[in-house]
Each structure stands twice: as C-alpha cells, then as structure tokens.
C-alpha cells in the first residue's frame, strides 16, 4: 500500500512539474489571471477615487476580484489538455488521481502566486490598513485553498463539455458560495482588527469545507476523466 501512495505522489509531482514547465513556456494562465485582477482592481480603485470604503464592502470586493480572477485562469489547466488533444496521451500514461492531484497543486500555486501580487496592491490602492494580519493571512490561505479546489474539479467537468468559458463561472459560483461568504465575513473581522479567536469559527468552516470538497473531488474525478 505504501508503494502505491508513493507512486501516486511521485506521478502527481511529475504531472505538476510538466504543467509548470508548460506554463513557463506559454505563460498563458498566469498572464490571464494577473492581468484580469489588476485591471479589475484599478478599475474599482479608479471609480472609487479617494473615498474610504467601509470594511464590509472592501472585504466583499477583495473576494469578488479573487473569485473572478480564478474564473479567468484556473480552467486552462484542463481545457488546454482537451483542446490540444494531449488529454488522451495523459490518460494512457498515468492514473486519473495522479492527474487530478498534479493539476490541483498547480491551481493552488497559481492562485497563491496571484494573491501575493494582488492582496498587497489591493491594500495600497484602497488605502486601508491590514488590521489583524495573521487572521487575514489565515482566511486568505484557507479561502483560496478551497477556491482552487472547487475551480479544479469544475474545470475538469467543463473541459469535457462544449461552451466551456461561460459554463465555468455558472457552475463554480454556487459551489464556492460557502467559501466566498465565509471568507468575506472572516476578512471583515480581520480588517476590523478582531483577534484570531473571534474569527475562529470562520476558519473552522473554511477548513472543513476544503477537506470535504477535496475528498469528494478525489472520489468523483475518475468518473470525469475517463470517457465512456
């Protein structure tokens, strides 16, 4: 049993490494996701002007930007494989789970890379202080972990359907609502400077949602990946 899990982890890392290699060559997803986030952010801060927005709206805005940036960039990882007909080659060489974990890891890293750029920029452009930063970091970490998991499994589904682009946000939005709502609430608490303990129930929800969605994705991915 140990050998099989080792093989699984090893294969997932190879899939991940291949996707990173491909991404550096084309830089297709990273450009799409960062450009989208920056344009949305500047558009918002431009229209808001110098006014200081109330904290609830700010935290809602932050997560809306993150959600829709995810919708722009996180589906390429599967859609590209199907469009360039390399998905069948991949089906021949490794197990579905290794493919899912490799691509899931890629989306998690991609979303974190986006956040490293966008979140500081967000606070600068919206001229607000970070409030209780470790609560904020925890909410951001767990929220985007859940968001990238939902985006990965939904991307796998739409890569098999036609009209892919429009469908991605329509399918992913209701599923990620629990993350978005809880993260907005958590971010608001953080920006108001509350302690981690007050925001603890939000973190609990985010962790349990992430674990549940990852488990169900692992159980169902095989049915998405294998065409019958």
């Amino acid at each position: 049993m140990v050998k099989r899990t080792f093989m699984l982890v090893y294969n997932s890392l190879i899939v991940f490494q291949k996707d990173v290699q491909l991404e550096f060559r084309t830089r297709f997803s990273i450009n799409a996701i960062i450009l989208f986030a920056i344009t949305t952010l500047t558009a918002i801060s431009f229209s808001v002007g110098p006014a200081k927005l109330d904290i609830t709206i700010l935290s809602a805005l932050l997560w809306i930007i993150l959600f829709f940036s995810a919708m722009t960039g996180l589906s390429h990882i599967f859609v590209r494989e199907e469009e360039q007909q390399t998905a069948d080659t991949l089906r021949l060489v490794t197990s579905p789970l290794a493919v899912f974990l490799g691509k899931w890891l890629f989306n998690v890293v991609l979303l974190f890379a986006l956040e490293i750029i966008i979140v500081p920029l967000f606070f600068i452009l919206m001229n607000t202080s970070g409030g209780n930063s470790n609560l904020l970091l925890m909410v951001l970490f767990l929220g985007s972990l859940g968001l990238s998991t939902v985006s990965t499994i939904i991307a796998a589904i739409i890569s098999q359907a036609s009209a892919r682009g429009a469908l991605f946000a329509v399918l992913a939005f209701p599923i990620s609502l629990p993350i978005i709502i809880t993260s907005i609430h958590g971010t608001r608490l953080a920006l108001e400077g509350n302690s981690v303990s007050t925001g603890f129930s939000d973190l609990q929800i985010l962790i349990s949602f992430f674990i549940v969605i990852l488990t169900v994705s692992i159980l169902t991915f095989e049915f998405i990946w294998k065409s019958n």
Binding site: A161, S162, L167, I181, H185, I205, V212, V216, F223
Partner: protein
C-alpha cells in the same frame, strides 16, 4: 389507484385547515397561513435535490441510464418547487418587511439552491453525447449536494454582514400551537406525497417516450 384520489381529498382538507382551522401567529396576522404552502415548497425543493443526488450516485455506480433519467426527473420537479418557493417567499417577505428581497437566511438558501439547479441544467444542455452528459451531470449534482449543508452555517453570516439589526431574525422561530402544527405537518406530508406522485408521472412519461416498438418479425 385509490390513494391518488385520497391524496386529492387530503390536500383539500389541508387547504381548508390552513384557511379556517389554524389560528394566526401574533404579529403576522393572516399572512401566517402562507407558512403552510411556502415552507413545504422549500422542503420539497431540498428533498428533490437529495433524491436527484442519490440517483446520480446510483448512476455512476451502475452506468444504468434509467438512474440518470430518474435523477433528471427529480431535478426538474425540484426546480419547479424551488421557483414556487422563491416566489412565495418573496411575496411573504414583501407582506412582513415591505420589500420583495432582503437576503433573509431562508430566502438566500433557496436562491442558492435555484442557482445550483440552473447550473445543473446549463451543464446538461452543454453536452451532446448522452452517456457523457449523464456522467458529468451526476458528478456535478453530487459535488453540489455536498456543499448544500454548509449553507446552513454560512448563510446567516451573509445576513449578519448585510443586516446587522436583529429585527429581521425575530421571525426565525414561529411558536406554533397544536392546531397550527397539525396543519403544518399535514401539509408537509401532503406535499411530499404529491412530489413522489409527480416524480413517478415524470419518469413514466420519459420512459414511455423512449420505448421502441419491437417488431416481432416472424423469421
């Protein structure tokens, strides 16, 4: 076949009970009676989704198209009840809070369920090949089903950040005296029976439309 006739009579009693027998809750006046119709619709919307997800799991395990057909039928009826629940909910909200929509926890959960149904059918219409459509739609309904329970903890947070004043939530718990409770649960049972009858009807209709006339050729 007699139980169908009885169900009709039973539902008539429920309506009469709702209008004449059950008292009204204080502060809500006559509009309390909406309770007997709105809440069962919302309950059926969730029950239909549970039934659909269960059939989806059975489809994935058995690859038997009949399971997918039942899942879609349950989802379609569920969508009808979700729309009814959303409409009746907003009418009731307008009566009590004088605004058709204010993201009260129940309204938002039903609305999110409506979004999930809409996404489910959007996905189904985006795929041509029958088996692939069944497979992907089943997976989506299972994933969506797993996220629905989280809404119960999460949606109140949405309200708390949008409507900090507690007035909205007073109506959360309605104390029901015995008369009201009997009509309320009676209506629940009636609507559930109605749902399963409609489900049976829908499944038979679709199965009939797929029947092939087997030509018993002599040779």
């Amino acid at each position: 076949m007699w139980w169908k006739f009885l169900l009709g009579i039973y539902m008539i009693f429920i309506i009469l009970g709702a209008f004449l027998y059950a008292p009204t809750a204080k502060g809500l006046g006559e509009t309390t009676r909406i309770l007997f119709f709105h809440v069962p619709c919302a309950w059926i919307a969730t029950l239909a989704f549970l039934v659909s997800a269960a059939y989806s799991i059975r489809y994935l395990r058995s690859q038997n198209m009949l399971m997918d057909l039942k899942a879609t039928s349950a989802a379609q009826i569920g969508l009808v009840f979700t729309i009814l629940a959303t409409v009746t909910g907003s009418i009731w909200a307008n009566e009590i809070w004088h605004s058709y929509w204010n993201w009260d926890p129940r309204e938002s959960s039903i609305f999110i369920l409506l979004l999930i149904y809409a996404a489910y059918f959007a996905l189904r219409s985006a795929i041509e090949e029958k088996q692939q459509k069944a497979r992907l739609a089943s997976v989506y309904s299972i994933i969506a089903f797993v996220t629905v329970p989280f809404l119960i903890f999460v949606v109140p947070r949405l309200v708390e950040s949008l409507h900090p004043d507690p007035l909205i939530n007073t109506q959360g718990k309605i104390e029901m005296d015995s008369k009201m409770a009997t009509v309320f649960f009676g209506s629940f049972v009636g609507f559930t029976a109605l749902f399963f009858w409609m489900l049976y009807l829908k499944i038979q209709t679709v199965r009939l439309s797929q029947v092939k006339i087997k030509v018993n050729s002599g040779d």
